[in-house]
Amino acid sequence: MALNDLVKNALEIGKAMGVTLKYLTQTPVTVEYPNEPVSLYPRFRGRHELRRYENGMERCIGCMLCEAACPTGAIYVDAAENDPANPTSPGERYAKVYEINLLRCVFCGDCEEACPTEAIVLGHEFAMANYDRHDFILNKQTLLNPGMPNVVIRPD
């Protein structure tokens, strides 16, 4: 009986060690983020970004269409008139206030769809944990200056 058990257990250990040995030779799945990049599909929808034109002007014209398209009411825009001498965006109108509440957002991407100037886009930032509820409300400053998430885009 005891011998039987002994053999059985030894086999089990051998089996387990086999698994260990098998994976010992393979590359690991765990990614040491942020030290190592995460690979994402190009259409991955992460945290929003507000984009600019090459000349530095904001793309957003404060039209509030993203706000209207958003199914969860996560966006708040308040527009104002551009100072002609020192415009924020091309044309007469810009977004004075632009806020996104990440706690409401369902990352559907409808805002991106609605935007006539391709100003708001869902970026690739996915690490969005925070310590304070207020920090989930992104303001225009944060949106315009997104961090550079350490990601690589994998083919579709």
């Binding site: 014209i61 039209c63 509030m64 706000e67 209207a68 708040y76 008139e81 007469e92 100037t117």
Partner: protein, 850 residues
């Protein structure tokens, strides 16, 4: 025109309409929508956009005709959805869009734009144009408040027609031709019509937008509250659009009994004060000589202590309450209840209250002056204005009057010390010397009698002082002109006579009202005599009894029925002795008056002398929106909310009680509604009033004032209800109207003319950034001759001195000012004309260049 209806067929539906109806309206009656751009229900048809083409069957087959300009015919057969019509609509839209910019995302009209809507519904669905579009001027200010985008304009003529048909100020026009056609102002002449902003509402695209509301709203995200205008006594109907605790814009709302659908620019643009940072948000109590933030209970206790202290020391009649014709019926009603029931005095009044001989019945009706595009004509063929300038004091009434003059041949008789704007119409103008109204009116009555060829012993006796000589010397009016005016009035079938507070103030006010009554009786139009107040609730403030000599409902203080009713309602006894008027209270402040409770008024800013008196008071409490000059002198300042931030009702000049519901609020502010503040003071004084809401106060008003019976919040609806004038109209009677000779002007002296201008330096206007440059300058305006005499030119700095005080102003020179007079409006920025006044009918000033 016969009344028989015309029968026609539109898209196989039979419809019967009145003759003269346009096809487009007939179609609307059977729910057939015909797309339109240039056509507007309040403007003459021009048929210039060709959007409304429909097929009308004729002897030579179906023909395309413009539905907006072709009236219906018996047996007409119209098709609005044939292939031909659809093809035309598509082609037309494609044509209109040829040069229309793709601006929708930044255009304020987006979301409520007829061009967007109709392109979606009737358009081709594709765009064939690849060539670049024409470029014209964008972001082009055609006035301080209206922004034009020439690229977006679709040349529909609506704005041009509004300014021409309603304002009679053709300030916009088309220039160039073909695709290059532009809408523009005349070089250097901005749109300055007082109701010009209405063109923003009617522009079918976003070519005209509001500088003030620009980019602040999207039609789909605002909350819309039907309300009324807080500035003028006509009570024009508006809609307040709000978002995130702020007013975003104000637009006109239709009320065919009041304003058609038009509102004044001041109403539309001047609301920045509501959300201003200067608003008071917390109670202030004076501690160690300084006003310091306090809690409500501290502040209420301080008011209670102050009022009680003065009452104990000097008696109830040493306490006074000042209400405001800018505030709701509810606030004013409770103020007078507070003064009468809890303090026990009749010292309760408001500016232009007991000091002015007004009429309890206001004006007969606005609808009777209106000439809508489709509707009955005005009822008056002659309108007489005595000391009223509708262009400045009630711009919508001004609009109605102009329309009546131009469309229905109404004639104007204007008696005013200044050549007011309406004098540009043919009629009669009597430029009398300020203070001489009574004699002038007697002259008119006397001559009216003569023109009629009637004998009337009473009238002849009453008016025998108004000799030709006196008219000439005292009033400064040519007797022949008076006779001409009298002739117009006598020959009128139904004349309307309106007067304002300026004509009937002070000691002679009563005489002037008698003179007006006599004149109206001679003309057999006693019921057509009207008094036009200056503020949104001038009428309501009187109705609810904020008067030293009348109880709610215009009942005299000794009216037994009213006293019993109120005693039952309130419990306890009412004071019997008449109280002091507004001016009397302020003149006596610091003397006989030891404490004042001032609600929404700023007497200290009105007259420097009163500021000095108020500083002498034992106790002063002020309920205010802003830290006004008066509030700065107060012992306790209680922050109140504006008309948009709480429910309330206002009664306009034609006795229409209208609702102004809460539209917006500031969650960070501790300010409260005026009625609630009074209710709490009462509670602190040991009196529990039974009100749970403004509606509850209104409920009580409908019991306290018989004429208001049944007119509770629900009954008033969105269009308001007029109360019946017959319930309070005094019986007609000829009364004595006399005045003493006025002192003659000395060497170099000019008679001072003052009055109200729409764009003054008051808080409610000044805080609107865009309109700052429109504020009437701190100037004295002189006739060119007088200016030459005094040796001053336009824009010179001058010192204006009266027997009473002096002011430093700029000089302005204008033909509109009568020789021998100097015009200084009230509430100019930093220049209270009150500094020159001491309450006499006439004040002389000298002008010295600086």
């Amino acid at each position: 025109m016969s009344d028989e209806l015309v029968t026609l067929t539109i898209d196989d539906k039979e419809v019967q309409v009145a003759p003269g109806t346009l096809i487009v309206d007939a179609a609307a009656a059977v729910n057939v929508e015909i797309p339109i751009f240039c056509s507007h229900p309040k403007l003459d048809p021009v048929a210039c956009c060709r959007m409304c083409l429909v097929e009308v069957e004729g002897p030579r087959g179906p023909m395309l005709q413009t539905a907006c300009s072709v009236p219906v015919r018996e047996g007409m057969v119209v098709h609005t959805d044939t292939e031909q019509v659809q093809a035309t609509q598509e082609a037309n839209l494609a044509f209109i869009l040829l040069n229309h910019p793709l601006d929708c995302p930044i255009c304020d009209k987006g979301g409520e734009c007829p061009l967007q809507d109709q392109t979606m519904r009737f358009g081709p669905g594709i765009s064939q144009l690849v060539e670049p579009k024409r470029h014209k001027q964008k972001d082009y200010h055609i006035s301080d408040t209206i922004v034009l985008d020439q690229e977006r304009c679709i040349i529909c003529w609506r704005c041009i027609r509004y300014l021409e048909e309603w304002e009679d100020k053709p300030q916009l026009a088309l220039f160039k031709r073909g695709g290059a056609t532009l809408i523009d102002i005349q070089p250097g002449q901005p749109v300055d019509a007082k109701t010009g902003g209405n063109i923003i509402d009617i522009c079918p695209v976003g070519a005209l937008t509001s500088k003030v509301a620009r980019f602040g709203f999207r039609p789909w995200q605002v909350e819309r509250t039907p309300s009324i205008d807080p500035h003028f006594s006509t009570g024009d109907n508006i809609r307040i659009d709000t978002r995130t605790y702020a007013i975003r814009r104000i637009v006109g709302r239709e009320n065919m009994g009041v304003n058609d659908q038009w509102i004044a620019d001041k109403t539309r643009f001047a609301w920045a004060w509501v959300n201003s940072d200067e608003r008071l948000t917390t109670p202030l109590v004076r501690k160690d000589g300084e006003l310091q933030p306090a809690t409500w209970s501290e502040a209420l206790q301080a008011v209670t202590d102050g009022l009680k202290r003065v009452k104990e020391r000097q008696g109830a009649d040493a306490v006074g309450g000042i209400g405001s014709a800018k505030l709701s019926n509810e606030a004013n009603y409770l103020l007078q209840r507070f003064m009468r029931q809890i303090v026990g005095t009749n010292n309760v009044d408001h500016r232009d209250g007991g000091d002015v001989a007004a009429l309890s019945t206001g004006i007969p009706s606005l609808a009777a002056v209106m000439q809508p595009q489709y509707g009955p004509p005005p009822q008056y063929d002659v309108i007489m204005l005595v000391g009223v300038d509708p262009s400045e004091e009630a711009p919508i009434l001004d609009l109605h009057i102009k329309r009546a003059v131009r469309r229905s041949g109404t004639t104007l008789v204007i008696a005013h010390p200044r050549h007011i704007e309406l004098t540009r119409y043919p009629g009669s103008y009597l430029g009398y010397r300020p203070g001489s109204e009574a004699t002038l009116l007697n002259g008119l009555a006397r001559m009216a009698l003569a023109v009629k060829g009637e004998e009337n012993q009473t009238v002849s006796q009453l008016t025998d002082d108004a000799t030709d000589e006196r008219l000439l010397n005292l009033c400064g009016v040519d007797p022949e002109a008076v006779e001409g005016a009298a002739r117009l009035l006598v020959e009128a079938k139904n004349p309307l006579i309106l007067y304002g507070p300026m004509a009937a103030q002070g000691a002679t006010g009563e005489q002037v009202r008698n003179g007006l009554t006599n004149l109206a009786m001679v003309l057999d139009c006693y019921e057509n005599l009207g008094y036009l107040g200056l503020n949104a609730n001038s009428q309501g403030c009187r109705d609810v009894g904020v008067l030293p000599d009348a109880l709610p409902g215009h009942a005299p203080l000794d009216d037994e029925a009213a006293r019993t009713l109120l005693a039952e309602l309130w419990g306890g006894e009412l004071p019997t002795a008449p109280g002091k008027t507004y001016r009397q209270m302020l003149d006596a402040a610091g003397d006989d008056i030891g404490a004042l409770l001032v609600m929404g008024a700023d007497p200290a800013g009105e007259r420097p002398e009163w500021a000095a008196n108020l500083a002498q008071l034992d106790f002063l409490a002020v309920q205010e929106l802003f830290l006004t000059d008066t509030a700065r002198l107060a012992d306790v300042v209680l922050p109140a909310v504006s008309w948009a931030e709480g429910d309330g009702t206002f009664t306009n000049c034609e006795r229409r009680i209208q609702r102004a519901p809460k539209a917006v609020s500031n969650p960070a502010s501790k300010a409260a509604q005026d009625w609630m503040i009074l209710d709490h003071i009462a509670a602190h004084m040991g009196m529990q009033w039974p009100y749970a809401s403004a509606q509850g106060v209104l409920e009580e008003i409908t019991t306290a004032i018989p004429a208001y019976a049944g007119l509770d919040w629900t009954a008033l609806g969105d269009q308001g209800v007029q109360w019946n004038a017959e319930t309070v109209r005094p019986r007609p009677a000829y009364r004595r109207c006399r005045q003493d000779d006025l002192p003659a002007a000395g060497e170099g002296e000019l008679a001072l003319v003052t009055g109200t201008v729409a764009y003054d330096g008051g808080t409610l206007f000044r805080l609107t950034q865009a309109m700052r440059d429109m504020i009437h300058a701190a100037a004295v305006t002189l006739n060119p001759d007088d200016a030459a005499q005094a040796g001053v030119k336009d824009n010179d700095a001058v010192l204006v001195r009266s027997a009473h005080g002096e002011l430093r102003l700029r000089a302005a020179v204008s033909e509109e000012i009568e020789p021998g007079t100097a015009w200084i409006p009230e509430s100019l920025p930093g220049a209270p004309v009150g500094a020159l006044l001491n309450g006499r009918e006439q004040e002389f000033v000298t002008i010295t260049p600086q």
